[in-house]
Structures are given as structure tokens and as C-alpha cells.
């Protein structure tokens, strides 16, 4: 078994008794100890707990009990998910003073109940407000493909840990692109399901009306495995829809026959780098997609999401912004305060526009089953270069890498983010976008694209060969 062995193959080998979970988890822990000093994916490693859990999986196999579909698969979660016995940091030092979580978040509990072994908590932008995981308190998470570059954010630890082969599965959150942006920069798969599909209970909120959670993986099959385990209603999360589990694993072999695809133009192309355009066009060609499809008002949707994020995010942290402003990263704090100051009528219009933009998208889905857009306008930037030229303007990477993801999460559409094999120096991804609740269709398309080689993970060089 290598560091890049899939979750599916790992679980099969553990379930079949060919390999012990304890040995696998020990190897994962050794890799993290040896290499995470460079990448800085983890803010906590739960070695003792992980080894104990792995031994329980091995005991189940030995006793002939079902150890679960993810038996022995090491996983880790963004440090805004509650982990019983650990303080939930949400990337801040303010939260570090708070009590340890009394229970696992439901998604963490579901993965553990399926036999997966939690090995730690992962770095992120402070309070999920950023696209680069340059955390001023816990340090930046570096990109496994080039440690001089950002991992993307805010779920940068989650994407980088999968790309580096520390673990095959992680969980992250996505309010404006925080799964899709780091998936693109680190070259892995990520799923942002329909708003309300997966329970957000036990996850530190950022923007209640926009927050989503979802998995990262190195293959479509692994992403499907994790997603199927995570599904299910949660009456204690007011945003979680009362939907039955709609397993996507059986969809992976169906192929895209009969599906109509379109590549989004306009907003999703105008500022895109040649690499981003090539990625979207390559996937479009593989699906015989129509080009230059217009999703009207995407720029305004991004603007509305931007304003709403500052307003709701700022409002949520007002007490700490009053009492201990010095404990925030200044860049986070000042954006949160500015956002909170916006007049109420501005925010009311953003909510109203959300209805209008959803209607536009739904009209487009009467003609197309899947829409394609770059995940990011550019690939991972250097840590020492905070600005980038977009459409002739110098803008902050930290605030603008989500230009193409924000309009889509604003209306809660499901997106499967795929790394595209286009031979670029750094990875870059596309968003496969469907109508609400159509995750299964996205898995069909992504599995086909992966099978015929258009999308897929490229292994990074070993860390020791890149760092001198």
C-alpha cells in the first residue's frame, strides 16, 4: 500500500483481512510527523486516539463483525468541525480559549461509525474568511505541488493533506468556494453538495445562509464513498433538508450518455488565465458541450455574496470584535467590521437578488444537465505574492480566488470540483455544476471524465525532493 492508495482499496484490504488498520494508521501518522513540518496541514494530530480506533477496526475484522465501508481509512477534518475532547479552533486564537467539544459533529461521527479513523484536525483561514489559508496564528498551509505556493482556502489543510497523500479523505466547508478553490490549487476532487444536503451541526458557522460542508478525495470513487456515508437528514440543523440518502456509488458506471453539457462564458471566462480557460474547454470537449453559455447576472451574484458574507460573518463575531479585536488577524477583523456596517437595505437587496439569480440558473437547467466553469481564475500563487492581475486590475488573491465559485454557492447549487489533466505547471480545476439535488448526475459525469483521463489527480513530487 502506498501513500496514494485509495480509500476504497484500503477499506477492501482491511475488510478482507489482508492488511491491518493499525499498521495503515501508524504509517499515516509517521508520514504526517515527518512531512507536515513543511506543509503545515494539521493543527492537531490525534495519534493515541487514532491508534486505539484502528485496533478496534482490526478487532471487528478478527471477530467477523462488519467493520464498515470505510474500515481503517485514515481521515482528517478542517478544524471548524467539532471533535469530541478537542477545542474547535475555526482557525482562530479566540476559540482556542473555549472548552473542548462535548461530541463529534454528526459528519465526523458518521465517518467514524463507518470504520474510518480520525487522525487529526486541519488548518484553515481564520473563521473561514479567505481563499489562501495564510493563517496568521497557525502559519500558512503550503501547496504539496510547490511549497512556495498557497494551498488555497479556506479549507487549505483539507485539500493539501489529501494531495500530499497524508490521508485519502478529508472534510471541509464551503461558504463562497472554500472547498472548490483549494481543490483546484492542490489538484484534488472536492464536493460542495446542494445547500442543505449535509448536516452542518457541530461546525463553527461563518455565514449561516451560505455555509456548506463536503468531502475531499483523490478519486471520484473515494469522494462518492465519503459522500454516501455523510448523507442523511438532521432535524437539529435547521438548514439541513429532510432528504433520504440518495447513494451515488451506483451511478459511477452509468456514463454521461444523453446528458447535455454547456461551458459557461462571460463572467466565468473574461478574467480567466489561459490555464483556466484550457481546463474548462478540455472538459467541455470531452462532454461535447456547447460553448459560451451565459448565466446572466453572475457578476452581481458574486457581489451580493460578497456583501452578505461580510454582513452575516461580521454580525456573528460582533461580541469578540468589540471585546478582543487585537486577537483577530487584522485582515479578517477589518473586513468583518466593514461588512457588519453595511446598511440593512443593501443586505435585503442581496437576499432578493438571490431569488432572481436562482430563477436564471433554473431556466438554464431546462436546457442543460451540467454546466462547466473553471474553479479558479488562476492556479496557486506564490506565498510572497499576495496580489494578482485580473482583467487589468491588481487585486488581492486572498479575497478574489473565489470569483467563479461565489455566484454558484450563492444559490446553493451542487458542484463537483475536478482537477483537470491539461499539463499545466500547477494543478487547476473545473466546477461541474448541476441543478439542486442532482449530485448523482455530477458523479456520473465526473466518473466518466476520470475514466477517460480528462480529469484526475497528479501525484506531487515527494516533499524532500522539493525542499532544500
Amino acid at each position: 500500500m502506498s501513500r496514494f492508495t485509495s480509500a476504497a482499496a484500503t477499506a477492501a484490504a482491511v475488510r478482507g483481512g489482508q492488511i491491518r488498520a493499525a499498521g495503515l494508521v501508524d504509517m499515516a501518522l509517521q508520514r504526517i510527523r515527518a512531512e507536515d513540518t513543511t506543509l503545515n496541514c494539521f493543527t492537531a494530530v490525534l495519534a493515541d486516539q487514532a491508534m486505539a480506533d484502528a485496533r478496534k477496526v482490526d478487532d471487528a475484522v478478527r471477530l467477523g463483525r462488519d467493520p464498515g465501508p470505510l474500515a481503517g481509512v485514515p481521515f482528517a477534518v478542517k478544524n471548524l468541525f467539532d471533535i469530541k475532547g478537542l477545542t474547535t479552533l475555526a482557525g482562530s486564537v479566540i476559540e482556542a480559549d473555549k472548552r473542548a467539544a462535548g461530541a463529534d459533529a454528526p459528519l465526523v461521527a458518521r465517518l467514524r461509525a463507518a470504520g474510518a479513523v480520525l487522525v487529526g484536525a486541519l488548518n484553515m483561514d481564520e473563521y473561514a474568511y479567505g481563499f489562501t489559508t495564510e493563517n496568521s496564528h497557525y502559519g500558512p498551509t503550503r501547496n504539496p505541488h510547490d511549497p512556495a505556493r498557497v494551498s488555497g482556502g479556506s479549507s487549505g489543510g483539507s485539500a493539501a493533506a489529501v494531495a500530499a497523500g497524508f490521508v485519502p479523505l478529508t472534510l471541509g466547508s464551503d461558504t463562497n468556494g472554500s472547498i472548490r478553490v483549494p481543490a483546484s490549487f492542490c489538484g484534488v476532487f472536492g464536493l460542495k453538495p446542494t445547500f442543505g444536503r449535509l448536516s452542518r451541526r457541530g461546525v463553527t458557522p461563518f455565514v449561516h445562509s451560505l455555509d456548506h460542508v463536503g468531502p475531499f478525495a483523490r478519486s471520484v470513487e473515494d469522494l462518492a464513498l465519503a459522500y454516501d456515508v455523510c448523507q442523511g437528514p438532521d432535524s437539529q440543523d435547521s438548514a439541513c433538508a429532510n432528504k433520504p440518502v440518495e447513494r451515488v456509488q451506483p451511478q459511477l458506471v452509468r456514463g454521461p450518455k444523453g446528458l447535455k453539457a454547456g461551458v459557461l462564458g462571460g463572467w466565468f471566462q473574461d478574467t480567466a488565465s489561459p490555464d483556466a480557460r484550457l481546463a474548462a474547454a478540455t472538459v467541455g470537449d470531452a462532454l461535447a458541450a456547447k460553448r459560451d453559455i451565459e448565466l446572466k447576472g453572475a457578476g452581481a451574484a458574486r457581489a451580493a455574496a460578497f456583501g452578505l458574507t461580510g454582513y452575516e460573518g461580521g454580525g456573528f463575531h460582533l461580541d469578540d470584535l468589540r471585546a478582543r479585536p487585537q486577537d483577530f488577524d487584522p485582515a479578517t477583523r477589518d473586513r468583518l467590521i466593514a461588512g457588519a456596517l453595511q446598511p440593512e437595505e443593501v443586505i435585503a437587496r442581496a437576499h432578493l437578488y438571490r431569488r432572481q439569480f436562482l430563477a436564471e440558473a433554473k431556466a438554464l437547467f431546462e436546457k442543460f444537465d451540467v454546466l462547466i466553469a473553471p474553479s479558479t481564475p488562476f492556479s496557486a500563487t506564490r506565498l510572497d505574492e499576495p496580489m494578482i492581475n485580473l482583467g487589468g486590475k491588481e487585486v488581492l488573491v486572498r479575497a478574489n480566488a473565489g470569483l467563479y465559485t461565489q455566484p454558484i454557492s450563492f444559490i446553493g447549487l451542487p458542484v463537483l470540483a475536478c482537477p483537470v489533466r491539461v499539463g499545466t505547471a500547477m494543478p487547476i480545476g473545473v466546477q461541474l455544476i448541476a441543478a439542486p439535488w442532482n449530485e448523482a448526475l455530477l458523479f456520473r459525469v465526473a466518473a466518466f471524465l476520470e475514466h477517460e483521463g480528462t480529469v484526475g489527480v497528479i501525484d506531487p513530487l515527494p516533499i524532500r525532493e522539493m525542499v532544500h
Binding site: T194, F195, G196, A241, G297, G299, A300, A303, A304, F306, G307, G310, L318, L321, R322, P325, P330, A331, R333, D334, R335, I337, A338, G339, A340, L341, Q342, P343, V346, R349, A350, H351, L352, Y353, R354, R355, Q356, L358, A359, I411, G412, P436, W437
Partner: protein, 60 residues
């Protein structure tokens, strides 16, 4: 135009209302962020159709 004519007076009023008292450096950064937010608000206002109010509540 959503941006108030006197942005500093607007910001100070809002900061008082919310009980916030940022440092001078933080105040300057907040003031630098506000025009960006108001420009975004203008963009939303211009794109908003009169029929939007008649659309059903956001529901997937």
C-alpha cells in the same frame, strides 16, 4: 449610488451603533473596505429586476 456622501461620518455612526471602537489603523482599513462593498451593492441594485420581489422565497 449606495455610498454615503460622507463615508467617514457614516462609518463613525455605524461603529457607535454597534459599540465598536477600532484602533486608528483598523479604522483606516475599514474605511478602505467600505467603498468596495458599496460598489458591490450598486452592482446588485443595477442587476435587480423589479419582478424579483414577486419571486418566491429562496428555496431549493
Amino acid at each position: 449610488m449606495n455610498e454615503p456622501a460622507d463615508l467617514t461620518a457614516f462609518a463613525e455612526d455605524q461603529l457607535r451603533k454597534f459599540g465598536l471602537n477600532p484602533s486608528p489603523e483598523s479604522r483606516a482599513a475599514i474605511l478602505a473596505n467600505l467603498p468596495v462593498l458599496f460598489a458591490m451593492a450598486d452592482q446588485v441594485e443595477q442587476a435587480l429586476s423589479p419582478r424579483a420581489a414577486g419571486l418566491p422565497e429562496f428555496k431549493l
